[in-house]
Amino acid sequence: MCISTVKFSFAISTGSKVPIYKQITDQVWMAVASGRLAVGDQLPSVRALAEELVVNPNTIAHAYSDLTRDGLIESRAGRGVFIVQKRKVFTSEEARRRLEPLLDAAIGEAMALDFSPQELSAAFQKKLDQWTQSKGGSSDHE
């Protein structure tokens, strides 16, 4: 246990519409996208995270197996679980197909809040800039 400590902490909530394993995978995706987790960073072991979050280890294992399948993490025998360089796991067609409902959901909810297409577009761009900036900002860690 001498490898760089995990600087990222998970938070889960019960009673959510999102199952716990999905909350965990979502948080890893978000952390990687925003640069809080980078390639080479280690995640806690299944057992350690289960006991920290007080959830069934199988739930954590499920989350990790999804993340492994999606090419975001890799389990190295005897060493632990690490963030890896993202492999392309979806064909560009499939990726586009998955993007559709995400955009629909965001735009639908935003429209319901009475934003104009122009305002939405500007807000989207601003958010995008924030994300790419925070990613750049944290690139100096080891």
Partner: protein
Amino acid sequence: MNEPPVIRTRELTRYFGRKPAVEGLTLDVPRGSVFAFLGRNGSGKTTTIRMLLGLMQPTRGTGAVLGHDIRALPPGVRARIGYLTEEHQLYGWMNVRECGDFQSQFYPRWNEKVFRGVVGHFNLGLTARVKDLSRGERAGLCLGLTLAPEPELLILDDPTLGLDPVACRSLVESMIYLTRRSDRTIFFSSHQLADVERVADYIAIMDHSVLRACCPLETFRNSVQQVRLQFPGAPPPLPAIPGLLQAFRTEGELRLTCVHYNGATEKALRALSPAQFEMVPISLEDAFISYLGERGEKSFILSETEAKS
């Protein structure tokens, strides 16, 4: 997972007079699982647990725990089952350590480290008198006494009932800790769906003496789905939708909760030609309440651990 189940019942039935308490219960609990036994009050959970422990005879049907007929559990097998109830036998004049020493006399496999670990986890001093303990502290002591013999099967009947949030969490933590040994099985009844969501691999749901669901927790969540249909005007009358559990109708909107949601369900719903069609994720609690709700048809999710007899 091809090992024999730790608990196996076939058509297990118990009547009180002419009233069924448990009717035709067929259930397998896989070794190493954390199995939540759910249902409203009076649905037959405690009667089932009492039968499993040999504390009550079934009217008919069979059951086996750790491979032994529940009608005649040998004492050696009983010693491999840990049972936590509220009315644990405790002497008020004993202190915590004395309770452990006393209990250990009855168990050849007593693990003092486990006992100390559990009572420590509940912040109990070894010299504290039983009569001075709070309800949560008593629960911690009882759990220690139940876990120290290292039972292969732990049966908990509504373990968090009446406990404060801190004691509840300690108990759930202990359950997680117990899964370190992959051959240990936990079978617990509960109303606390937040705890169930945290710890359970499998759930079984009793309803009016009958088993209505028995599957991995995730299968249950995937089976119960909510859909929102929006219409330009008033929603059309609802045709028969297979697996419909609940329907809410508002101006221009139908919100339906269905079980066994699949392509056929979606086709039936799309045939209503809604302007918008949207799957709405729901929480475990909402799924559970919809599933046991009085509206709609009775549905059954009995997959995976369902008896293949």
